[in-house]
């Protein structure tokens, strides 16, 4: 009822103010740099008298409305001189302006650092003038750090940490919440996940140099999607800016110390505006080829196992983006934007698995190729009318993950051995008998493949209406959106076992392997060459038998298809009250979904008993009010506060109703289509001060109260299926994702960035960039000591994925044509998996990566650079319960990139 009243109030307000709209004059225009004529995104254009203003978009464009009469406009931009313009407006007049700003920093005039401080300035201006709390990473900033993909570029933002795969950033955690709590968009619209089971996007599939900028919204306004508890990331592709044909790009090579192989990277961009700047065309292509690898030791204390894993990978990233935009006139424009990305990953994995309890050692080799991609096509536009503005966008987005082959061969040898843990960093087998390849007999090989597809068709329309209430100005914005999603996963998995004697491992050994695994701390012998094994199989297929039941179970349980429809509408007002700007409103999102999968029942005797189709339906709606307050103490200092509500949908592997009941082992895992999304009420307070020399100091606190937190609950002494009158089995253990009691997250973040020009001599050329975030996140869940007698016992745990400490520290030196930077990125330890008892909780150990980069500007058009990443060869480490119980150590070596950047 309260929500309905709130909505009614807003609607009445909307109705009252519309009367005054006829008196308005409309002012539109662009703010550009005097020297380069490039647009200044994030510039603030303000009525000097009323302090009401707006910030420019990525094209430097702005729009304001005013009553008739004399007005004075002021345009401000950090690092530039303020410019004022006086206008005499008549009612209904439409004025088009081009506001030219001139830099006031010596360095910004110097051609030698073109594109560096400007990038930082763009980002900071957008942050400063945004209505909500947002961090912006501009394209030029992306180039300053050695970050090849979008995830790694985002790790430099305060409150953001990343999860790596093979040393490369992949998933993004915002403010200590795991990736499913963060919404990822391209050009303002959510993109589908290429991966099968989840909604979040692996950002290593997106090359950083495809992007114009990245925005991390930490507080939500009603015009943003509401399913973003941690934050909302928006990746913005580029648009043409110059009327001259511009070719820019990179030619990069490098070296990986672990693999002792070079890498290759290149990009080329063409952009130009035609027809008196009306038509813009931009095409950007990039490619990155990287040969990498890792040395990995994994210790399983529960099953007393030890694994040595030698990885070798070839990864490529291809990106192609294109934008065509057409401005009919300053008030009416359309665009067509396309983004194609493809990430490929060929992985060879050679393993020793020591199983002292069985007196066995397994030898395995895996060969897997996987490609992932996100393709988007946006058609949209903006129309500015006398009384209102509309913007609209239709997007088709397609995410895919295709694994054409995933092959692994297994040989098993019998060896008496134990595991020596005297050095917990280097657990090792007690003897070297396992090196004898002739002692390994064929066990099985598996050939799998899968295709996951996720498609979104989305459309949105926003209407923006300026109004006056007395002397105060404001705008009302309303809009709607529909998004239709279809997602599916199909897999094939064939396991072949021997029907008769197969030669031992020595008959199939070969191929390349790491001759310096962990610095020769472990003995290694020739691995299984899968090519030789598969050639043998192809010549003698009659000697192998397909494991039919394994195939049926694997394929049935994991495959699914899903359809989801999301309908959203919002109404919000942006009101200037002196130095304060208030954005308040309500968003409503309704979701309906259908999920189809299969149940598999394994009979008490171990045979497969039944495979049957199953369907789940869900629908839910959320009213999401929010208030953002920004108070400008002065031109460079803001205080901000926000209260908002948001939510996060369950992942597909939790909500798809697939069930696997193993009545032989008396346990079942059961999907839960009735799972409710996690809801959160978010509170933010932040103070920020911007330095005229392009810098910032900011500090803030945030708190999130989460309800219906999702976790895996163990239902003791339960029945299968759940909630039916005549179950197939009773007294069994059922595991199911369920909504928990509550969770909370509070944190503090601090950022500092400025040129240290107050230091003497050459030290004045130093720039300091640092940020730090502290989070304390806790969830209340079913206790690990709960049992059939006391199933509702609760315990409090740290929220998985939440690191207490994380931050960045970078020191840069910029002088004339030379620039160098040392950057450290730190992630504190965080819980990654909740164990059966607290002592078995799995944590990722804290990690600090050191990268250095140096650039020399040859002239206006060419720059050369060199980067060294992971200089100190920091491993990925995970431990169980306590830090000296290391369960994984993975080293990647260091790698470099060096090359040429040009802008012709």
């Amino acid at each position: 009822m309260k929500k309905a009243l709130h909505l009614l109030t807003l609607l009445l307000t909307f109705g009252c103010v519309s009367v005054s709209l006829a008196q308005e004059a409309t002012i539109t225009g662009r703010v550009i740099d005097r020297d380069s004529r490039s647009p200044l995104a994030g510039a603030y254009v303000v009525f000097e008298k009323s302090a009401y203003g707006t910030s420019t978009n990525l094209s430097g464009e702005f729009q304001l409305s005013s009553k008739a009469g004399k007005i004075t406009l002021k345009a401000t931009y950090i690092g530039y001189r303020d410019t004022t313009i006086t206008l005499d407006l008549s009612a209904g007049q439409q004025v088009v302006l081009e506001i030219v700003l001139k830099t006031n920093i010596l360095e910004l005039n110097a051609i030698t650092i073109t594109g560096q401080l400007q990038g930082q300035a763009k980002a900071l201006n957008q942050q400063k003038n945004a209505d909500n709390i947002v961090n912006v990473v501009a394209a030029d900033q992306i180039g300053r750090f050695p970050d090849p993909n979008a995830a790694e570029a985002l790790q430099r933002v305060s409150g953001v940490n990343i999860e790596r795969d093979q040393g490369e950033g992949r998933y993004v955690f915002v403010r200590g919440l795991s990736p499913q709590f963060t919404n990822v968009s391209v050009n303002g619209e959510q993109i589908p996940s290429p991966e099968a089971d989840v909604r979040y996007v692996a950002l290593d599939a997106i090359p950083a140099d495809q992007l114009a900028s990245m925005e991390v919204f930490k507080t939500l306004t009603p015009d943003l999607d509401g399913d973003a508890i941690g934050g909302s990331i928006n990746l913005i592709t580029r648009i043409a800016e110059s009327t001259k044909p511009t070719f820019s790009g990179t030619a990069i090579t490098g070296y990986n110390s672990l693999m002792q192989r070079p890498n290759l990277q290149g990009s080329l961009q063409y952009d130009q505006r035609f027809l008196n700047r009306k038509l813009g065309v931009l095409v950007n292509a990039s490619y990155y080829h990287n040969d990498l690898g890792s040395d990995n030791v994994e210790r399983n204390f529960i099953d007393n196992e030890l694994e040595l894993r030698d990885y070798e990978l070839t990864r490529t990233r291809s990106g192609l983006s294109a934008t065509i935009d057409y401005n009919f006139n300053p008030n009416h424009s359309i665009y067509l934007r396309g983004l194609y990305t493809k990430f490929t990953d060929r992985e060879w994995r050679r393993r020793y698995v020591f199983l002292p309890g069985d007196s066995e050692v397994e030898r395995l080799t895996k060969d897997r190729f996987e490609s992932q991609g996100v393709n988007t096509l946006n058609l949209g536009g903006k129309n500015i009318f006398k009384r209102f503005t509309i913007d609209y966008d239709v997007q088709y987005a397609y995410g895919f993950q295709e694994t054409p082959y995933d092959i692994e061969g297994v040989f098993i040898g019998s060896f008496d051995h134990s595991i020596d843990d005297s050095d917990f960093r280097l657990p090792r087998p007690s003897n070297n008998d396992y090196l004898n390849n002739a002692a390994y007999e064929f066990d099985a090989f598996e050939m799998g493949g899968s295709t996951a597809e996720d498609q979104n068709l989305a459309a949105r329309l926003n209407v923006n209406i300026p109004y006056h209430i007395g002397k105060y100005q404001g705008t009302i914005k309303t809009g709607g959106k529909i998004r239709l999603k279809s997602k599916n996963l199909s897999i094939e998995n064939n396991k072949f076992e021997a029907l008769t004697d197969i030669p031992n491992l020595s008959a199939f050994e070969g191929g390349i392997w790491d001759q310096n695994f962990f610095g020769n701390q472990y003995g290694m012998s020739n691995p299984l060459d899968l090519g030789r094994l598969l050639s043998y199989y192809n010549q003698n297929p009659e000697k192998f038998e397909l494991s039919i039941e394994d195939k049926i179970i694997d394929e049935a349980v994991e495959s699914y298809d899903a359809e989801e429809s999301v309908y959203a509408g919002f109404l919000m007002a942006r009101q200037q009250l002196g130095k304060a700007t208030v954005i308040a409103g309500l968003r409503y999102e309704y979701t309906s979904g259908t999920y189809n999968s299969k149940d598999v029942v394994i009979a008490p005797n171990g045979d497969i008993q039944e495979v049957r189709p199953t369907t789940g339906n869900v629908s839910y709606g959320f009213a999401l009010p929010s208030v953002n307050l920004k108070y400008a103490l002065n031109d460079k200092t803001n205080l901000r506060a926000a209260v908002s509500m948001s939510y996060s949908r369950p992942n597909f592997d939790q909500i798809v109703p697939a069930q696997e009941a193993n009545l032989e082992d008396n346990e079942a895992s059961v999907g839960n289509p009735a799972l409710k999304p996690v809801r959160s009420t978010n509170f933010d307070v932040l103070g920020e001060h911007y330095f005229g020399t392009v810098g910032i100091i900011s500090a803030g606190v945030f708190y999130k109260a989460l309800t219906d937190f999702i976790y895996t609950r163990s239902l003791f002494n339960s029945q299968y299926p759940l909630l039916v009158a005549n179950p197939l089995a009773t007294g069994i253990l059922v595991r199911q994702a369920q909504n928990g009691e509550s969770a909370s997250l509070m944190g503090f973040e601090f950022a500092f960035q400025r040129k240290l020009q107050f230091l003497p001599g050459d030290l004045a050329n130093l720039n300091l960039y640092m940020n730090y975030t502290y989070t304390n996140a806790q969830a209340e869940l079913q206790s690990r000591v709960a049992d059939a007698g006391n199933p509702d016992l609760l315990e409090t745990i740290t929220l998985p994925g939440s690191a207490a400490h994380m931050g960045n520290l970078a020191l840069a030196y910029d002088k004339k044509r030379f620039s160098a930077r040392v950057a450290m990125n730190f992630n504190g330890a965080y819980l990654v998996e909740v164990g059966d008892v607290a002592a078995n909780d799995l944590f990722v150990k804290s990690r600090m990566q050191l990268d250095v980069t140096a650039t020399y500007t040859l002239n206006k058009r060419f720059r050369v650079f060199v980067e060294v990443l992971n200089l100190t060869n920091q491993p990925f480490e995970a431990y169980m319960g306590q830090e000296d119980r290391l369960v994984q150590r993975e080293f990647y070596g260091w790698w470099t990139r060096m090359g040429l950047k040009f802008n012709l």
Partner: protein, 340 residues
Amino acid sequence: MKKLHILLISLLVFTACSKENSNLVLPIPLADRPLQLVFDEEESGVPEDDDEIELVFTFVDQYDPTGQSLEGLKLPHTSNLRVTIAFSDNEGFAEWSDYFTGIEAFYEIDDCITSLDQNISLNPTLDLVNGRASFDIPAGISEVILVLETDPTNFDNDLIDEDRGFKVNMVELAGEGANTRVKFIQDQAWEVILLDDETIYGKWAFDGSVSADLDNLKDIFSLINEDFESLSTTDIDEVELEVELDKVTLKIVLTETETITECGVTEVVNKEIEVDMDIEDLSDLLDGEIELLAEVEADNGSITEYTIKAVFTVVSGVMTMTMEIEDGDDTIERTFQFTK
């Protein structure tokens, strides 16, 4: 525009560097896998005084792409096949003609009728000079049983001789015609081992009329089969323990009778209680240890495993065996005597 083309072509060239196909050997597609004709066992044990040896030739179960058959199904081959097998590694006899006396081949039409009943000949032939035999597998037939008729007196002596037997291999598959998908495993052998009944192998009798001995038997086997609990000496007609190559069967023939009808024939027979146990370990044939595994299926289909560990000696037709079985935290140990 030309530069745009160069850019796009460059991207395609780069895409080729993903190593998707370099040094890659993929297994043949599932649809191209052969239909596999195999022996249904790797080895079998035949009592030394048996007059026939059965070899079963079968097709390996295939994946049912319709999903109807969860355990897989026998996909029929579409043409008549003729299989030739070769005998080798004969031990305990010099000539094939010393032991083999004839051959027969058939397939089951249902549980009661075979191809022999319908006068369908699989044209079996036996070449005793070269140690070969051949028979037909008609199109659509997924399992054929080959019966080698043997001379039961050839090995039936009072000597202890553990090394007697021979091997069988498939050596030729003819008449495939259009159906080239059928393959057999060249080096797969079926080993036939002749079981010497002067050792642990063979049938052993147990005196169930002695109450104390029966109680010992019940102490061990009531855990595995609850029908043992209520047995008394008056219920028992005879007790037999049969030791085969890979399993042991304890059979209690009761005095109580029942009328059964099988394949249209009705007869009155004694009721029986049976316990089947797999031989997990056997250290010696005359004086050693044996480990037996019994699996009991509950009403809901769940399987419970019981392990019996025993030591035994065989002396002059008498086997003394001490068995032990775990009952919770307790170990029950009983000693039995069996006679030939």
